[in-house]
Symmetry: C2
Subunit: 327 residues, 2 copies
């Protein structure tokens, strides 16, 4: 109850109200999103990587809107270079925009920091953001600065996608094949700061994928979001998972495949392709990108669970695990 | 140097880099905005109440983008009701959108809070935001939640205005008359939590005002922004200032007029009207609104200073003062 209006709660409420830690990040978000004020020009509201809104009935493009905070001691540690912090803060938002198949255009940046923060640190954060913004033709058009107890960067991003072409989490179909870009796991060894937003890949996938999400909370967790919102299930073929060298190098006693499943902040794209387009898709991808793209499973009509297949024998349910605030 | 990457700074830089407190909020913002990545579809970048961007060459509306944080112990105290905190967080952003002559449409909300925050508090914040959002037909389309040391609400807002009709701070002309809505000063007694965003008034002023800003840092400070960005000056007629009852009630030994000049968070509109439209404007305003609208000065070509006139005799320079982070 730090910094909170204790005396405005009735004593009963103060005693009986569960806390954020009690109900968790997803519980709180589910509770909040039950009754948000809406408008007719909102195509997709809270719950996907970005919201989708339509500026007018004759618009040729939809806009995607998203925001992400990075916070000291949560998303970065004291030994991170300011440039890396800035890069990550913007990179997370660009990854969300990529997951919609959209192109990023404009961002705003709120920085909260203690008054004794050296201006060199702020310069470094902006240098890191600026470099990534330039790479993807993104304009930083404003924001705000405020004093607070620890360093935080909140980035708000706007992207665009041809009307009706935004890719959702909720549209995977039984029979579709599940793919992921790049390699998974072990981002804590450094890659979490070096987000490479898959913008070009996301724009390309706009014409191929039936559903898409970015891997930010961890493969198992983000795949669960995708299947639950699509009302489907998934046979995940563990032996096919593209495991990063970092996941192999993690010396914490856990298997590399566990890191690939449960570590967060890979910032790769996880998407589904209709099975009849498999060969055509694979050829088109190879023609366009050097980046690894691996089929790791199949969408099923068996809701609720994700089965892991090891050579078709050892079917188990993947744990509900991944990074959570307030856990 | 709390939570900051000390070891990535060279010892020399760590010793010699000024801090945010040394250069202040405006100094930091000026430094940051010198070299932000830009795009051709940005009509107005950082520096106004909102940025203005254009979605396409055939678009009939421009979008305005803005963000504002409210932070425990900075923007509200421990005795504020959660509903009021939510109301203020959204109200500040709507006030920025109003200052562009735009209509608000969509917002995202990032909440940072300690894990032991009662969910009732979060519910209350959303209830306060939701009520205000519904009043102005604003959709809350998403956002994020993260764990942090103190309660913060970051609101990112998008509004729209007919193409090219967004009102700026930088377009006042010598000879224009200076007006302000409502009454000024003493918001600390409670009004800072009860922001009434002047949306309808802002939309109306789109067809009348030559320049506009909202009074958030305090009249003297925001008027200075307006004249500096317009390259003009202002004769401010102190005896005409509409002083709030709260400013009269502040029992801190300062004059009510000082509160009207230097207190922040009035969230009224400060704007300029070409002198030849004075009578027509006043009639149209009275026909449309009950809200007080007062002519308080005249824009001059005498840059750099704001003179205060008391019956034309006692001309003094208004102090550079107002709310500043890192001060």
């Amino acid at each position: 109850m730090k910094n909170l209006p204790e005396d405005k709660l009735t004593p009963a409420a103060a005693c009986t109200s569960p806390t954020l830690r009690d109900i968790g990040e997803l519980g709180a978000i589910e509770r909040i999103t039950r009754s948000l004020p809406n408008r007719q020009d909102v195509v997709v509201g809270a719950g996907d990587d970005c919201a989708i809104v339509r500026t007018g009935s004759s618009a040729t493009e939809d806009l995607v809107l998203t925001s992400d905070p990075v916070i000291a001691d949560v998303h970065f540690t004291a030994d991170a270079a300011p440039e890396s912090i800035g890069h990550k803060a913007l990179g997370r938002v660009l990854s969300d925009i990529a997951a919609m198949g959209a192109a990023p255009r404009w961002v705003l940046v709120d920085i909260v920091s203690p008054g004794d923060t050296p201006i060199d640190v702020i310069d470094g954060i902006y240098r890191g953001m600026g470099r990534l913004a330039s790479e993807f033709s993104v304009a930083i058009v404003g924001g705000d600065m405020a004093e607070g107890g620890s360093l935080e960067i909140h980035v708000f991003g706007v992207g665009s996608v041809p009307t009706g072409k935004g890719l959702l989490r909720s549209t995977a179909n039984a029979g579709d094949l599940l793919f992921v870009t790049g390699n998974l796991g072990g981002s804590a060894l450094g890659r979490h700061l070096q987000v490479e937003p898959r913008i070009d890949e996301g724009v390309f996938l706009r014409n191929w994928a039936s559903a898409m999400i970015d891997v930010s909370d961890g493969l198992a967790s983000d795949l669960r979001h995708l299947i639950e919102m699509s009302g489907v299930g998934c046979d995940l073929e563990l032996e096919k998972l593209p495991i990063s060298d970092a996941a192999e190098d993690m010396s914490d006693g856990r298997l590399a495949v566990e890191h690939a499943l449960y570590d967060g902040e890979d910032f790769e794209l996880l998407f589904t392709i209709p099975v009849e387009r498999r060969d055509e898709f694979s050829a088109a991808w190879k023609n366009e990108f050097d980046l690894l793209c691996t089929q790791i499973g199949t969408i099923t009509s068996n809701k609720e669970i994700i089965r892991s297949l090891n050579d078709g024998r050892d079917a188990t349910i993947i744990e509900k695990r991944g990074y959570r605030h307030f856990a």
